[in-house]
């Protein structure tokens, strides 16, 4: 494909950036009350047509959109990182129980310890994400055949159902938490103020930097542990760094929008397909940023769709993504290579 090879990586990123920008503008313009695009642009530039428009744009739609971009990028990165670290095409913070771990720790700290602020319980989210991830990894590795994609996925699913049951047990005994949990657990971008985004942004940024620092090492890890070690990579250190990045990215995201599944599963596959067409190949120095750009596009698109299709109510973005991700997961499972590992 000569034409496809002409797409250079940088051009690809610029193109994705443009798509993301358009989606951001749409996300600000569309909603229960639509705002014409020219009014949106004027409000963003600081010359709003009316106080009402200014208010809706800056206090509702911009924070929501910024949250979508932040959370999407974090989940896309986390998914790409987990798939590379475990060399497992089924890996994703949602499937492997990391999100459920963070969610359980948050609900526990809110209901039992009475923590009320995001910056209070975000540390619990990190602890929960880390612990669940490590336990699932160890469970998946048990047995004679070692770590296989199917075993790891099943261990993650088992862990997820355990943590979800415990979470609902806590939530159901604290009725006042139920209503908030119902929407939070479905993965919604609605009703979050601008300061929420600013609070999680440092954690996501730190996670993203750690992830990017891993990228060259992930390329050698893809060749197998032995090859990576003989290339001078310190496997333990890479894994630790990767796990730290996944923990930061997932914990921060879950504490704001709840355990969104599948975004991290679908996006890296799309990124790899794009990278292949662009002639880059499986180079994680490109795959990670591509995932970080693609995931917010999908999350924003799902959020916008959820606002439009069921008016007057909203469908949470997480629900739509799970609906799309299910068939994708099944398609992955059906692939011969995977099913016979």
């Amino acid at each position: 494909m000569t034409r496809a090879q002409g797409l250079r990586p940088a051009f690809l990123l610029v193109l994705l950036g443009a798509v993301l920008l358009v989606l951001c503008l749409l996300s600000i313009a569309l909603g229960a009350r639509g705002i014409p695009l020219d009014q949106v642009l004027r409000a963003l530039a600081g010359h709003p047509d009316s106080r009402l428009v200014d208010n809706v744009v800056w206090t509702v739609r911009v924070p929501r959109t910024a949250l979508g971009v932040t959370a999407g990028a974090a989940l896309g990165l986390a998914g790409a990182l987990m798939q590379a670290l475990t060399r497992n095409p089924l890996a994703d913070p949602g499937v492997l129980g990391v999100s459920a771990g963070a969610a359980f720790a948050i609900v526990f700290s809110v209901a039992v310890l009475g923590l009320g602020s995001l910056l209070g319980y975000i540390w619990f989210a990190f602890a929960g994400a880390f612990a669940a991830g490590v336990v699932v990894f160890l469970l998946g590795r048990m047995g004679r055949s070692g770590l296989t994609p199917v075993k790891l996925a099943l261990a993650g699913i088992a862990m997820t159902s355990l943590l979800t049951s415990l979470t609902s047990a806590i939530v159901l005994t604290a009725p006042e938490a139920l209503n908030r949990y119902r929407f939070w657990s479905a993965g919604s971008l609605a009703d979050q103020g601008g300061e929420t985004v600013l609070r999680v942004l440092p954690f996501v940024a730190a996670g993203a930097l750690l992830a990017m620092a891993c990228a060259p090492a992930l390329n050698s890890l893809a060749l197998g542990d032995d090859v990576a070690a003989s290339l001078g990579r310190r496997l333990g250190l890479i894994r630790l760094q990767g796990v730290a990045a996944v923990t930061l990215l997932t914990g921060a995201t879950v504490s704001v929008i709840g355990p969104v599944v599948f975004l991290g599963l679908v996006i890296p596959h799309a990124a790899r397909a794009l990278a292949e067409r662009a002639g880059i190949g499986p180079d994680h120095r490109w795959l990670l940023p591509l995932s970080a750009m693609l995931a917010p596009c999908l999350l924003l698109a799902a959020d916008i769709t959820g606002r439009m299709v069921a008016r007057p109510v909203e469908i949470q973005a997480g629900v739509l993504i799970a609906f799309l991700g299910g068939p994708f997961f099944i398609a992955m499972v059906r692939r011969r290579k995977l099913a016979e590992v």
């Binding site: 469970l139 048990m142 047995g143 004679r144 055949s145 296989t148 199917v150 075993k151 996925a153 099943l154 261990a155 699913i157 088992a158 862990m159 159902s161 355990l162 943590l163 979800t164 049951s165 415990l166 609902s168 047990a169 159901l172 005994t173 009725p175 119902r182 479905a186 599944v261 599948f262 069921a310 109510v313 909203e314 469908i315 949470q316 629900v319 739509l320 799970a322 609906f323 991700g325 299910g326 068939p327 997961f329 099944i330 499972v333 059906r334 011969r336 099913a339 016979e340 590992v341």
Partner: protein, 362 residues
């Protein structure tokens, strides 16, 4: 997937060699004659009866255990009789029957797929039935067709989809499970969509039912389930005999005169039917179909989930779970599904480790 030809299979307890499993199961009445199985069944029956009566005795007006037993056979003062018969009996009956239905169906699927993880609540049948029922509640279809019909349609459609999507020159146990998990995610998000779409009261009704709940059940819920259990469980037991020849492999079974495809289809349908009726009556009670047959199998020391002991274990688990859910925190009524979920998930993890250790984890 590790392809084993004969020898051990993932579904067998640890690694029971095929030879020993022959000796245990081939004589047609062997299951009934094994003293340990009979003892286990008797003990389970007694425990189930006790928990059943205990459940009936609990409530705003506590009734003594002996008074409950008397009321069950129609003795006692009219007030007690009314409370027991009209208010508390339906709840306990739905619990008992749902437990039986889930567990028998689980035993069936686990034996058929030779994989303890391939129970109906793992492969999305319960969620499929749930989505259809919630669609009925939210969109108002339930008035015309009935919740049972909707549940049955949902479960059947999901079963068909799992089978078709997992099919690829034969199905392997793990592909069925993972495809089923993917489908159950789709069903769950569809259910979430319906709940968000529906009105406040419908959403509340749907949510209350979705956790797996025995609160406020009436004879309207109990009777269809009772009919289904009365028809489908004996059918399962009869067909289950034939299932044993299927374990020898399709060719041997056919040579022995079993109509392989017909038996397998019949078993699938009875299993799906049991799940559908139980889900329609009690909601998707988590993990009973997965855990009860496994517990029964270990209690009886059998190589496969024994159907009768599984049924009794299922009833005991649901009734006991409901009892625990009501007693755990005074003043609040946890849905039974939460209790079985919290207790069942470790069973799932443990099964996973066991299957992995057997070396055939896939």
């Amino acid at each position: 997937m590790v392809r084993t030809s004969g020898g051990t299979r993932p579904g067998d307890t640890a690694a029971v060699p095929m030879r020993r499993h022959f000796r245990l199961t081939v004589p047609p009445v062997s299951g009934v004659l094994r003293p340990r199985l009979v003892a286990v069944c008797a003990a389970l029956l007694a425990a189930t009866f006790l928990v059943f009566c205990w459940g009936v005795s609990m409530g705003d007006v506590p009734i003594g255990l002996t008074a409950v037993m008397k009321a069950l056979v129609g003795q006692g003062d009219p007030g007690t009789l009314l409370v027991v018969r009209e208010l508390r009996l339906p709840r306990a009956l739905v619990g008992l029957l749902a437990g039986v239905a889930f567990a028998v169906s689980g035993a069936l699927f686990q034996t058929m797929t030779r994989n303890p993880l391939a129970s109906p609540d793992m492969i999305g049948l319960t969620e499929g039935a749930g989505t259809a029922v919630v669609a009925g509640i939210v969109l108002g279809w339930d008035a015309g067709v009935g919740v049972q019909a909707l549940g049955l349609t949902g479960a059947l459609a999901t079963a068909l989809l799992v089978y078709l999507l997992a099919w690829r020159r034969g199905t392997t146990g793990y592909r069925i499970i993972l495809v089923g998990i993917g489908l159950s995610w789709i069903c769950t998000s569809a259910t979430d969509f319906l709940v968000a779409r529906g009105g406040r009261f419908q959403a509340q009704a749907a949510l209350g039912w979705l956790v797996g709940n025995l609160n406020g059940r009436s004879f309207e819920d109990a009777v269809p389930l009772a009919v289904a259990v009365a028809v489908l469980v004996p059918a399962t037991l009869v067909l289950g005999r034939l299932l044993r020849t299927l374990q020898l492999g399709d060719d041997v079974a056919a040579a022995l005169g079993t109509r392989v495809q017909a038996v397998r289809l019949g078993l699938m349908l009875t299993g799906v039917g049991l799940v559908a009726f139980a889900t329609a009556a009690a909601g998707p009670i988590a993990f009973v179909a997965l855990a009860a047959p496994q517990i029964a199998q270990r209690l009886a020391g059998a190589a496969h989930p024994p159907p009768v002991a599984s049924a009794l274990t299922g009833a005991l688990v649901v009734l006991g779970g409901d009892l625990a859910a009501r007693m755990l925190i005074p003043g609040t009524e946890l849905p039974v599904g939460v209790v079985t979920g919290v207790l069942g998930a470790p069973v799932l993890l443990w099964l996973l480790i066991r299957v992995n250790r057997a070396g055939s984890g896939g």
